[in-house]
Amino acid sequence: MSNITELIKKEIESLSTDATRTNVGRITTLADGVARVDGLSKVMFNEMVEFPDNVFGIALNLEEDSVGCVILGDASRLKEGDEVQTTGRLLSVPVGMGLLGRVVDAIGRPIDEKGPIDSSENYPVERIAPGIIPRQSVDQPLQTGIMAIDSMIPIGRGQRELIIGDRSTGKTTIAIDTIINQAKINKLGEESGDPDFRPVYSIYVAVGQKNSNIARTIKALENNGAMDYVTVVAAPAADNPANQYLAPYAGCAMGEWFLRNGRDALIVYDDLSKHAVAYRQISLILKRPSGREAYPGDVFYLHSRLLERSARLNKDSGNGSLTALPIIETQMGDVAGYIPTNVISITDGQIFLETDLFNKGIRPAVSVGLSVSRVGSAAQIKAYKKVSGKVKLQLAQFRELAAFSQFESDLDAATKAQLGRGARIVEMFKQGVYSPVPVSVQTGVMWAMENNFFDTIDVSRITAAVESLKEYFTGSGKEVVQKIHEEGNLTESIEEDLRRSVEDWKRSFA
C-alpha cells in the first residue's frame, strides 16, 4: 500500500505545469498490425507513437500525406478514425544487469512472471554501430566448448560468426552449448577470485519460433545452471511481425549495454531468416517496393546495421565486446539463397551444418570444408593453437582420400595412416548436446590425438576412448589440465606431464 502511495506522490511531483505540445493524426486504414495514419506531419522516423488504450507503435514509413506505423501489441481494440499522437521518443528497452536471468518480449517487458525488471537505464533499439576509431581487432577467445568449432573454426570476442544449415541440423544446439559454456566459465572464473577475469553474459533472441521450442531452450539453460547469465528476448511465431522485426534490435541494445560498459557479451539471433520474413511482411503491408523473392530493397541493410553493432572496443573505449552468433536456416542446403549470401557476406565467418553428416551420426554436423572463421584464429590460446593447427588440413586430406578408401588393400602405408587419422579425428569431434568441454581438456585430448595415442584404438571405440580421456582429465588427470589452463601454453614440462597422464589413462582404458 505504501508503495502505491509513494508511486502516486512521485508521479504528482513529476507533473509539469507547462502545456504539452504534441502532433496528432488519425488512423485511415488498419490491417495486419500496420496502421496508415493521416496527419502526424512532424513525426520522426522510428519515433514511438501512441494509439488509444495505451497501445504504442513505430512510425516506419513517412510519406507525403500519410504515415505508416507498425503496431506493437494488441491492435484488435483500435479502429479507423482513432487519434494517434507523437511521443517525441525513440523506441527504447531496459538494459543492465537486472535483465540477467529474465525472459522479456521484443520491447523489454517481462514475460516470465518474475515481477518488474530491475533496471534504471534504457537504450534505444536502433543505434549507429561503433565507428572505426573505437574498435580493436579480435584477440580474446570466446570458447564454445565444442571441440570441432574451438579447434578448426575458433571464435573471438567481438566476432560475428554465422551458424547456417538446414532445419534440424543442430544450429540452436551449438548456440545453446556456447551459452552454457560461457556460464560454466563464468562460474569458475568468479570462484577463482581472479580480478582480471572477464565474464561473458549472453542474450538469446528467439524470432518466429514455436513457443514450445523457446520453453525447451529456457529449460535447457535453467537445467544447466546458465540462466543466471542469460537474458532471453522472445518474439515467438504467434507474435505480430512488428515484434519479430524488433526483437533482434532490442536484444542488441541489451548487449550494447555490456559493450559500452567495458564488459563482454554474446548475442544469439535465432534466427535471421525468420527475421527477414517478418520484415518482408511488414514492408509488403506498408506497400514498399519489393525486390528479389519479394524482400524489400533494404533487406541487406536490415542485417548489416544489426550485425555491425557487434564489435570489440579498444581500451580507450572501455575494452568491451559484443560477439554475435546469428543463425540462418537454409532450404535443401542451398547456401546461395538471397538471405544466406547476404548474412555470409556480412559476418566474419560461418559454421555450416550438413544434414548428411547429421544423419550419419556425426554431431555436431559441422562441414569442415564450408566452415570458416576469418578472424578467430588470432584469439586462440597458444596451447590450443599448437595442437589444433594441423587438424583442419588432416581432415581435408582425409576427405580427399576417403573416396579411395574402398580400395584400401591397394593403398600404401602412409595413405592408410592418413585415412586412419582422419577417421579417428571425425570420431573425436563427436560430442553430445549441452556438454561443452573446457578448452584445457580439449587441448589434452587433441594433444593425445596428435601424438598418436589413439592410433592403436579401433575407430569404432574412439568416441568411448575420448569420453574416457575427458573423464580422466576431470578426475585423476586434472592437475595437468589445470596447468594448461593457468599457463595457456604447452611448455616442455607440461608436455611431459601430459605424456605421463595420457599413458596412465591409456593403460587403464586398455
Binding site: 502505491i4 507533473l15 502545456a19 504539452t20 505540445r21 496528432v24 496527419g39 500525406d65
Partner: protein, 126 residues
C-alpha cells in the same frame, strides 16, 4: 492523381494561403465540365487536401470550464502570430478534460488539462 489533386488545391488558395469558397467552386465546375479519368478518386483526394488546408486555419478549442472572451481573443492573436496566418477559433465543450484546455491547429495539439496530467499516473498504475 495525387499530383493533380495537389495542383487543384493550389488553385483553390488565395494569396495568404487560405482556401476560398469561390475558387473551390470554380475548380469543381471545371472538373464537371471536363471530367478527368477516375473523377471520383480525384474528388476524394481533393476533399482530403481541402480538409487539411481548412484545419490549418482553424483552432479547435476544447475546454472544461469555459474560458472568458478576453482569453479566447488573446489565444487567437497568439496562434495567428505563431502560424503566420489568420486563425479562426471554434469552441467545443469537452468534460473529459476534467479541468483545462486543449487547442488543436492542423496536426498540432496544445494541451493543459487535468486529463493529460493524470494519463502518466494511470499508465504507471496499469
Amino acid at each position: 492523381m495525387r499530383e493533380i489533386s495537389k495542383k487543384l488545391i493550389h488553385l483553390s488558395l488565395d494569396e495568404e494561403g487560405r482556401v476560398v469558397d469561390e475558387k473551390v467552386r470554380e475548380v469543381l465546375e471545371s472538373l464537371r465540365a471536363n471530367p478527368p479519368r477516375e473523377h471520383k478518386l480525384l474528388l476524394h483526394l481533393y476533399l482530403d487536401h481541402v480538409k487539411r488546408e481548412l484545419s490549418k486555419g482553424v483552432a479547435i478549442v476544447e475546454f472544461a470550464g469555459k474560458p472568458d472572451d478576453e482569453a479566447i481573443e488573446s489565444l487567437k492573436q497568439e496562434l495567428s502570430r505563431q502560424y503566420g496566418r489568420s486563425i479562426e477559433v471554434e469552441l467545443r465543450e469537452n468534460p473529459d478534460l476534467l479541468v483545462g484546455i486543449r487547442v488543436k491547429v492542423g496536426d498540432d495539439v496544445y494541451e493543459d488539462s487535468a486529463a493529460t496530467r493524470l494519463r502518466p499516473l494511470a499508465r504507471a498504475l496499469s
